[in-house]
Symmetry: C2
Subunit: 337 residues, 2 copies
């Protein structure tokens, strides 16, 4: 088993009020590089930020890292359009960062990225893959492709108060800028990504499609961004069994209907409650309050460590301490400073 993490960026994340991944909009491009370094090394090593929300909620990368420390999960990161360098090792797909979905074309190289990702996924000798993501703004692009495909499913948020109306109006503007109506991309998932999606969707959908064709079991590890990928796969004609592993925080989001997603898309959904309410720590309280919820493969990683959640929680707290998170300070921390 291997966890693949596709990391990328979209200018969509810079739209006011869209994302909590990174305390300040201009720093969100550093979040995916920092997330990959946290998973690979336990802390950001070259990225100049520790991704933590303004209220002190740490990136889910610390959860995935903690799982690695406890159960030794193998992780392979994929550069699916990073806009800033990372010192983490990455598989190179040649993907470019995504544009604001309100541009006519959001992911110019969607087709090429999907195809390279497909070849990569098909080449792997693993029996089973978990595939997760890190891309700020990703729930808005998820809504973008869901609407473009005509799938009546909603999306979650990394913010406690989901700015769904804001996302819907961004997606409407995005479709209008691409001269498309809702549902116009049904059956053409790569076109949906190209017009109103993000490069991480192209990478994750491509890897999953290639792996499934090669007979590898695939679990999409994440929340509604991965539900959108499941929709892309079904619209690509992929009929293989597909599962989604996510967190109880996503399942508890009133905007999310996982049962409906499971029904429409033929998804076996597994949710894990990491038991954050059993610890007194700001970092975990923020998750219980509905922040972050998912990302960086968190839900999938937790399924792997299901019997060892107390050890995982201890490792999370150690990781947070190392990163200077949750000690009462809500300010953005820069590494090396």
């Amino acid at each position: 088993m291997r966890l693949i993490l596709a990391a990328g960026t979209t200018e969509t994340a810079l739209i006011d009020g869209i994302s909590a991944a990174g305390a300040a909009p201009e720093l969100t491009a550093h979040t995916p590089p920092a997330d990959l370094e946290i998973v690979a090394y336990g802390e950001p090593t070259a990225a100049p930020v520790v991704p933590v929300s303004p209220t002190g909620c740490p990136t889910p990368a610390v959860v995935t890292r903690a799982v690695r420390e406890v159960v030794g999960l193998e992780v392979t990161a994929v550069d699916a359009g990073l806009a800033r360098p990372t010192a983490a090792p990455t598989v190179e797909l040649g993907a470019s960062p995504g544009e604001d979905v309100r541009e006519p074309v959001a992911v110019a190289d969607a087709r090429e990225t999907f195809e390279r990702a497909h070849a990569f996924g098909a080449s792997l000798p693993d029996d089973r893959l978990l595939i997760g993501e890190t891309i700020p703004g990703g729930t808005t692009t998820a809504l973008g492709v869901l609407v473009a495909l005509g799938e009546p499913l909603s999306v979650s948020s990394s913010l406690p108060a989901n700015p769904l109306e804001r996302k819907r109006s961004v997606v409407s503007a995005a479709l209008a800028a691409s001269d498309r109506e809702p549902g116009d991309c049904a059956g053409d998932p790569v076109e949906a990504i190209r017009l109103v999606g993000d490069p991480v969707q192209a990478a994750v959908a491509g890897i999953a499609a290639g792996a499934l064709e090669a007979g590898i079991d695939v679990t999409l590890a994440g929340g509604t961004q991965l539900v959108a990928v499941a929709a892309l796969l079904r619209h690509a004609g992929v009929e293989a069994p597909l599962s989604l592993a996510t967190t109880s925080f996503v399942a508890a989001d009133p905007a999310v209907d996982l049962d409906r997603a499971a029904d429409r898309l033929g998804l076996a959904v597994e949710t894990t409650d990491p038991g954050f309410d059993r610890e007194e720590a700001v970092a975990m309280e923020r998750y219980c309050a509905g922040e972050a919820k998912e990302g960086v493969g968190m839900g999938g990683a937790l399924t792997v460590a299901e019997g060892e959640l107390p050890a995982v929680r201890a490792a999370i707290l150690e990781c947070c301490e190392r990163l200077g998170i949750g000690n009462g300070s809500a300010e953005l921390r820069r590494s090396g400073g």
Copy 2:
């Protein structure tokens, strides 16, 4: 603990009679990408070759992979001048492939690569690093920098009959082309690399120097190519304790004097005998006959698995079987065929 593998290329490998890393010279550029894929995934996934010598000796990557399977060693690969793509995840140092050392300048970006590698090594939070390499032609460039530094140490070979005279004449031609005499680069290791070395030396020396400065224990994991890196580090004024972990096959090479290297360079040398003479398998017999000997961090990986060598040998044989190596066929195998 983390094993770092720096992978790169030098046109020096294409000189007739220099290297056994790859059955045919024109395919040697695929050897480091294939090695990294074997370590990451258990087999080449995108590289079009399985590195195996004409007599059926597998790349030491299978040993490092086997150790990972048995003891879960964490490996981080670094692109230190790959000339062909790899599907393995790599840390990007922006290094270019090296030229033939008989050109006036062999590694134009030696300084930049050394400095980026230094920053990477210094940034890591690990307590201990093992650092290995994969670069065909690397013992010739090792001899190059040793002579340029004025260090009277000889080098090993991936061939059973070490073509030392050939290497010495190449190094003489290399120094002449750079308008230098033996010893002219004493105290200026980056210049030695730039003129008669290879990009992997710049990466390994830089990572080691940075890590040592940050208080990380460093073990150079390899044979005389890593002895050359130790010399580069001492000529850079690095005085920290430094160890070398290599195989009994390097120690048994009559061209190699590890005691002398240890004395001159202040190196704590540890050698591991993987017990290949206890198995009846072509792949292991070739090592016992003096082929390959080291590479891809093999000696260092073996120290980590010292209590589990029978399991490692079993994993090696499984890996060889998966790769179609050692079944009596000595021909070059291409993956996917």
